[in-house]
Symmetry: D2
Subunit: 471 residues, 4 copies
C-alpha cells in the first residue's frame, strides 16, 4: 500500500492504544506493548500512568524507543498505565496532538487515549465552544474530554456513558483515572480492542500481538457498544452497554494492511486471513507464470498463499532495506532518476526472463504500483500479472484510515482495465468482496472504502464535500 495522504482539514489517525491495570512494572509493560504496536503509528507516542494518588504523563514525537529513554520511564510511577502510538499527520499537529491527553480536574485527573475518528466532531466542537470550552489541540479526542461533564454529585462513569452516546464514528477509547480504567468501543466495532490477563491484573491492546510481547494471555475482545470498567479493589470488571444498536463491522483494511500478521482480530489470525486471500486470488484469477513475488512486508502472506494454491514457486523478487528509518536522507530527484532506490530492490538474478505474479495488498493512488512494475521490467521480468488482495478502493474512509481523497483514489475514476494500463501490468485482478468475507471467517466487515456503504451517518453533505474539493 502506498504512502497515504490526509484529507486536509481533518486529522485522521490510524493509531494504537495499550493499557495496563494493576500490574507491577505497568510502565515498562506499556513500553513493550506500545513497541509491539509501533507499526500502527510512528510519528509520536506517549504514556500516562497512575499510582492511585497521582497521574503522570510523558510524550514526544518519534518512535517509542526514541521517546522513552530510561529517564522518562522512571518518572512514570504507578501500577496502571495507558499508552498511545500515533500515525503521521501531514504537517498539522505537532506535540500538542500527541496522546494520551491528560486533563486536570478537581473531581480527579483523567487521561485519554484514542484510536479512531469521530465523524460528528465539527458539530460537537461548535456546541462545546458556545458553552465555554476552549481547545488546545486539533484532535477529535479532546472533544470527548469536554463532553464528559462531571461534577462532585455524580459518578464520572455516568458522565462517560452519556458522552459516548453523543459521539458517532469509529473508536477504541482508553480512559485512565486514579481509580479506574475504562475501555470503550464504538457500536459498529470498527476499531479493534482486546483484553488480556497478566499476573492478576489486566492488559488491553489494539492488537493481540502486544499480548505476546508482554507475556499476557488473551481473554476476550471488547464488544461493539461496550464499556468495560476496571476498578481498584473491585472483584470483577464491570461491563456496560451504552448502545442497543450494535453491529459487527470490523474495518477490512485492518486485516488487509494495518495489523501485524501475528495478531488475531475477532478470532481470525491476520497472516492466515491474508494467506487465504492469496489462495482465493489464485482461484479467482489464475495465470500461467514462473514465479510469485509479494511486496514486503504486508503482501508476503498473500503471495505465499497464491504460490501454494497455484503451485508456482514463491521467490524473494523484491527486498526491503530494513534500516530505512526516519533520519534517512532522501535521494534527490536527479539521483532517483539515475536509479537510486530508497527502500525496495529488485533481485535481478531471480527476475530475468521470468513471468511474474506480483501480489500487492491494495492500490490507492497507483503511483507505487507503477514504480514497482517499472523496476521489475527493468530487472528483466517478461510478464507481470498483478493480483491485489482486496477490491478496488473507490471511497474515502471517515473512520481513521487515511485512504486519501476521492480525487486521488485511482479506482474512483478508472476501471480495472484502465488501471491496468496506467500501471503497465500485463493482467490485473482485484479480490472480490465475497472472497474477503470468506477469508474473514464470514464475519461482517466494514467495506465502505470498496463499496461506499458507510455504517454511520457522515454529517457532511456530498455537496459540501465536493465544494471543499476533498472528495
Amino acid at each position: 500500500m502506498e504512502a497515504l495522504q490526509f484529507i486536509p482539514n481533518n486529522i485522521n489517525e490510524e493509531c494504537g492504544v495499550f493499557g495496563v491495570f494493576c500490574c507491577e512494572n505497568a510502565t515498562e509493560l506499556t513500553y513493550y506493548g506500545l513497541h509491539a504496536l509501533q507499526h500502527r503509528g510512528q510519528e509520536g507516542c506517549g504514556i500516562a500512568t497512575s499510582d492511585g494518588q497521582e497521574m503522570y504523563r510523558e510524550r514526544g514525537e518519534g518512535l517509542v524507543t526514541e521517546i522513552f529513554s530510561g529517564k522518562k520511564l522512571t518518572k512514570l510511577k504507578g501500577d496502571c498505565a495507558i499508552g498511545h502510538v500515533r500515525y503521521s499527520t501531514a504537517g498539522g499537529g505537532g506535540i500538542d496532538n500527541v496522546q494520551p491527553f491528560l486533563f486536570r480536574h478537581h473531581t480527579g485527573d483523567f487521561a485519554l487515549a484514542h484510536n479512531g475518528n469521530i465523524v460528528n466532531s465539527r458539530g460537537l466542537k461548535q456546541m462545546l465552544e458556545s458553552q465555554g470550552s476552549i481547545f488546545q489541540s486539533s484532535s477529535d479526542t479532546e472533544i470527548f474530554a469536554h463532553l464528559v461533564k462531571t461534577d462532585r454529585r455524580r459518578d464520572r462513569l455516568i458522565a462517560i456513558k452519556e458522552a459516548l452516546t453523543m459521539i458517532e464514528g469509529a473508536y477504541a477509547f482508553l480512559i485512565l483515572t486514579n481509580r479506574r480504567l475504562y475501555l470503550c468501543r464504538d457500536k459498529n466495532g470498527l476499531r479493534p480492542l482486546s483484553i488480556g490477563t497478566l499476573n492478576g491484573g489486566y492488559v488491553v491492546s489494539s492488537e493481540t500481538c502486544a499480548f505476546e510481547a508482554v507475556g499476557a494471555t488473551f481473554l476476550r475482545d471488547v464488544n461493539p457498544g461496550e464499556m468495560v470498567v476496571f476498578e481498584r479493589d473491585a472483584e470483577e470488571p464491570q461491563s456496560h452497554l451504552f448502545s442497543v444498536d450494535i453491529h459487527h463491522n470490523m474495518c477490512a483494511m485492518e486485516y488487509v494492511y494495518f495489523a501485524r500478521p501475528d495478531s488475531d482480530i475477532e478470532g481470525v489470525n491476520v497472516h492466515r486471513f491474508r494467506k487465504t486471500c492469496g489462495r482465493l486470488l489464485a482461484q479467482e484469477a489464475p495465470v500461467v507464470a514462473d514465479i510469485v513475488i509479494g511486496i514486503p512486508d504486508s503482501s508476503i502472506s498473500a503471495a505465499i498463499g497464491y504460490a501454494e494454491e497455484s503451485n508456482i514457486p514463491y521467490e524473494m523478487g523484491l527486498i526491503k532495506n530494513k534500516y530505512v528509518g526516519r533520519t534517512f536522507i532522501q535521494p534527490s530527484q536527479e539521483l532517483r532518476e539515475k536509479g537510486v532506490r530508497l527502500k525496495l530492490s529488485p533481485v535481478r538474478s531471480l527476475l530475468v526472463g521470468k513471468r511474474v505474479v506480483l501480489i500487492d495488498d491494495s492500490i490507492v493512488r497507483g503511483t507505487t504500483s507503477t514504480r514497482i512494475i517499472h523496476m521489475l521490467r527493468e530487472a528483466g521480468a517478461t510478464e507481470i500479472h498483478v493480483r491485489i488482495g482486496c477490491p478496488q478502493i473507490q471511497h474515502p474512509c471517515f473512520y481513521g484510515v487515511d485512504t486519501s481523497t476521492y480525487e486521488e483514489l485511482i479506482s474512483t475514476s478508472h476501471s480495472v482495465e484502465e488501471v491496468r494500463q496506467l500501471i503497465n501490468a500485463d493482467t490485473l485482478y482485484f479480490l472480490s468482496e465475497k472472497a474477503l468475507q470468506q477469508a474473514g471467517n464470514r464475519n461482517e466487515l466494514c467495506m465502505a472504502c470498496y463499496n461506499g456503504k458507510y455504517p454511520t451517518a457522515l454529517y457532511q453533505t456530498k455537496r459540501e464535500l465536493n465544494i471543499e474539493g476533498k472528495f
Copy 2:
C-alpha cells in the same frame, strides 16, 4: 543464528566496503551503497572522499543514517569515495577503530577500508614496531598501511603490491588516493568484492545488492589474488595479480547467514542458494508435519524451499519486530522471565496443535534455538523438527566471522543427538557439506568452520590457542 561473541584478544570483523570512482555525487552514492550494506555492520561507519586535490573523511559510531546527517555529507567533497560499515566489537575499539582510516603522507594521503581478517597480524605488528611504527588503533587494517612503505622514488602501486605479499588471511581492501582507487582481494577469495559501472565511472561493493541501490550495473567480481587499479585519466582499469597460488574458497557463511538475499556472490544468488538448501534439507531429512516455519529474517528462504519441496505449507509462525533498534531498553531479568519478548513473537493461533518443521540457518551456541523451541512449545506446537541450513559449526573462524570460541561452539563437544536433547527438539538435522556445495553451483567454498580445513596457515600453535583458553 545467534548473537555472536568475539574471540577476546583479536578484533575480528565482518564488515562491508563500498567505493565509487569518478562519478558525480560520489558521496551520496556511497551513503546509499553503505546503507544497502548496513546488515554487514551496525556499530560504526565512515566515508573518505577525494576531489583529486584533497582528501576528506567523516566517521562515527552508529548506523549510516545516524552518522551521516546532510551536514557531514556536504563536507565530503569529490568524485571518488570509499566507505565502510563496521560490525560490533565486544567493548574494544571505539571511534579509533572505525574505518576508513586516513593516512597523511608527503607523497600523498591515502584512505583504507578493509573487510576481513589478517591472520599473521601479530608478527607483522612486532616487526613494524621494532622498525619505528606507532599504532593508534587495535585494528589489523592499520598494519597494512604501515607495510605500504613508500618514498618519492617509486610508485605507490609497487609498494601496495609488495605489502599484499606480506599479509595472509581474508580480505577485501579498498585504497583511495587522490589519483587512484585500488581494489585488492585475498588469494583464497574468502571475502567477496564486486565491480559495477555507473554513468561512465565505477562502483565497487562487498555485495551486489548495493549496485541495485545506486542504479549501477554489475561488471565482474575482483578475482582472488587480484589487484584492480582505477586511475584518473586512464582509459582502462589495470589488473595485477599479486600471487600465483590462487584458490576459490568463498566463505560458506556468506551464503548461509551474512549476505542479503538479493546479492549474487560469485554468480550465485543468495536467496536461491538458501532456498536450494531448504529443498535439499527436505530431501535429506523429510518429516511428517503440519507447517514449516523459519526464523526471520535469514532462514525464510530456506523455509520456503523446504515447504515447496515437502508440500507442507509455509506459515509465519514467528514474527520479528522490525522496530528493534540500538536504543531499545532491554527488559529486566524479572520481566524476561515473566514472558516479555524482545524481538521474536510466536503466532499462537498458527502454532497451536501443530507439528512444526523449524528451519534455522545455523547453530552456534544453541541458546537461541533452545529459547525459540521453548517459545513454540509454550504457544502450543506439539512436535518441533529442527532443520539447519548448514553442517555443524565445530571450528572457530579466523577470517573475519565471529563464530565464537571452541568452548562456546555447542557442536565442538556434542553430537547431533546431544544437541537435539539440549535444545529440546523432537528431531534435528544439519545439512550436509555436499548439499551446500550443490547449492553453491559446485563452486568451492571455505567450510573451515564445519570441517577445520583452513585454507591458510594460522600462525598460532594449537597449544598456544588451548593454553589461552580460546578454542
Copy 3:
C-alpha cells in the same frame, strides 16, 4: 542570591515575555529578544506566531538556543509573535506548562504568555471547573484563558477586559490573535512591561535590554491597570484602563536581583540602581578594609559602587566559571567536601592577608553566604565584612518571585546579629528600605518580602498557610 526553592503546592514563576507586532522577521526577532531575556528563565521557552490567517506555536524544555533550531523557527510563520522564557519548577510542570499557551476557538485562536502570579487562582479554578472547564496544565495562565468567555456576538476585547477585572495578583500578559496583540499589566504594576518601536511595527518586552538586542527604540512602559491593544490596519494602538484603583508598586527584587543591569525599569537603569545601593551601603555601613569584592554576576555593580564611595579598591576576588550549563555533572558529596568547586572560585593571591568587604545582593536561606565566607577565609582573607544590597527578606512573595517559605527564610526567625554569627561574618549590614527607595528615584516599590506589606489581598488565611506548613 541563593538558588531559590518553590512553595510546593503553587507554581510560581519569574519569567520573561517578548512580543512583536507587524514586523518583518517577527519570529527571528522574538528569538533574539527571548535570548536577551534568558536570565529570567532557563527551563523552558516557546514562541507563538500569527500570519494573519493561521497561528503557529513551538515550545520546549531548555534554553532558547537549544529549543529553536533553524528548523523550528521556519515553521513559525507570520509578522506577529509572542514568546516566553520560563523559570524552573521544582519537578512539577514539564512541557505542558511551557508557554505561550495556544487555544483553539471557532471565534479565532489565541495565544497567551504570562509573567507573574495570580493570587486568587484557586477560587477561580474551582468556579471554572464547576462551569465545565477542563484544565490541561497546572499553570495560573490557563485559568485566564478560560475566563475570557467569548461568543460570536461580542468583541473579544470586551471579554479580555472583563476577565482582567476578575484576577488579582502580579502579571504582565501578552495575548496574540490573528488580528491583535493585547498587552496587560496588573493594577499595582508589580511586573515590568515596556513597549518599543521597530521598523514601523512594535515590540514589547519584560525588560528593555531586549530592545537593544533587536535594534528597537524604547517608547514607553505599559501602565499599571492598562491594556494596550495593537490591531492590524489600525492607525494607532488603543489604550484601555481596566481598573481605577491603580498603584505603582514595582517589585524591588527586579532591581535588586532579577533584571539585567542594562535594562531600565520605569526609567531607572538597573546597574545604576545597584551601584547607588552600593554607594548608600558605604554611607550607611562604612568599614576599614583592604578590598571590596562582589559575588558575580548580580552583585558586581553594588560592589563597584561601594568601592567608589569608600575609596577601597575593587578586586575580582571571586570568579564565576562562565561555562556552567545545564548538562554539568555535579560533583559527589565526597568530591565537594574535598574542595571541588562548581561555579565560584576564590582568587587566593588577591585575598590572602586581606580585610575584605563582601557585597551580596540579598540573603535568602543563608547557606550560600556561609559557603562563600568559608571559601574566602580558606583562601586567606583575615576579615570579612558582609554588606547586603537590600533589607532582610522576612516574608514570602506571592507575586512570582520564589523567595522560599517562611520557614526557610533565615531572616524570618533570626536577627541581623544572629544571621552574622550563622554565616560567620565579621560584620553584617542590610541596606535600609529608605536607601532602596532613594536608589529607585523615589518611585514606590513593592517591598512586601522585606516588610510584609502586600499590595493585594492574599486569599489565604494565615492559619491556612501555617497549617499547610508553608510559612
Copy 4:
C-alpha cells in the same frame, strides 16, 4: 580581542592541558579541571586515563560538559589521567586532531596532550616520513610521538628527552603511560604549566585556576627546559633539564588576553596584572572623561584599574549576553544591519551624553573596535577615548596564539593615528612595552607579536612567508 583567524596552512592552537597523578577520582577531577580551563579552547576536548594496566581514552568535538556525559566518564578507569581542551581550527582538523592522542606500542601505550606550537614541524615531518612514519592527523603533536623512538632495550624516559632536544617552539607537554606522567615545558618557557598537590597525589595544569576548581594546592611551576617525571611507587618526582640554553619568555598575551583572571602565572595574578595595566594606561595616557567602560570579559580588570587611578567612575556601559553558545543562530546580514546584536549590548541610559574611556585588551584587525565604537556613539556617547592594554600587535605569533597574518594585523601597516581614524575613536593609546613589563613584576615576557623579537628560529625565510602571502 577580536575573533581570531588562522594562518591557513599551519594548525596553531591555544589550548589547555590538565593532568592527575595517583589520585582517587582522577577522571572526575580531570573533568572539573578541564572545565576550569574551558576558556582556553571550546572546540574539542578529551581525557586519557591509566589504571596502571590499561589505558583508556574518550574525546569529542564540543564543550567538556557536552562531550563527557556520565557514561563516557565511567569508561575512563584509573587513578592517573591527562586531559586537553582544544581551540577552534578554521575548518581543518575535526575529531582526528582532538587530543589527547593515544598511541599503542608493544613497549607500552602512551597518551599525549600538548599546548603550544612546534616551529620546526615541517622539516621533522619530512624526515620522519622518509623513515617510514605515517601520520593520521595534521597536528604537530603527532610528530612528537613519532620522535619518541623506543625499543625494549632502553628506557622511554631517555627517548622522550632525546625527542625534546629535536623540537623547537612553544610547548607544554603531558605524556601519560601506565607507570609514569611526564611534564615538559619548552626552554623559553613560552607556555605556562604548573604543579599542585592533592590528597597525596599530584595535579598539573596550564593555569592555576584549575587547582582551585579541584581543591588542589599550588606547588610550583615547571621550569623552562625542564621535564618532571612522576612515577608509580617512586618517593619523589624526578626533575630533568633537557636544555642548557634556558630563558624566561612567558607569552605576554597569556596575561593580556588568554588566561582567566583568577590564575597566577609565574607568580603574578592575571587580574592584578591587568588592573595594573589599566592604572599604567591612566598614567601614560590620561584624559578628561565622564565614565570608564571595559569590553567584557577580558578588559574589565584593566577598566577598573584605569577608573581607580583616574578617579573617573567605572560603569557597565557594555553588557555581554552570557547565554551565547555554540548553537546560536546567527542573525542574517539584513537583521544585523537593522541592529540585531549578537553578544554585546550598549547601556543607553549610562552612555547618553557621556565622554567615555573605552578599555580594550588589544586590537588585532580593528573590525570589532570599529563596531563597538559605532554602537557606543549610536547609544549617545559624545566622545570615545580608546585605551588598549598592550602595545600594537604588528607581528604574527608562531607559538600557538592565532594573531592572524601580517596582512590582517591592522597595526602592521597603520600608525596609531591611522588606526584611530579607522576605528573612529576620539583618541587612541596603546600601552607601552615597558608598562607591560612593570605589570608583570619585571619578569621577562615574549613580546614578539609587538616587537618581532622571536625567541626561537622560525625555520621559514621571510621570502617564503611573503611569497605564500601569509605575512
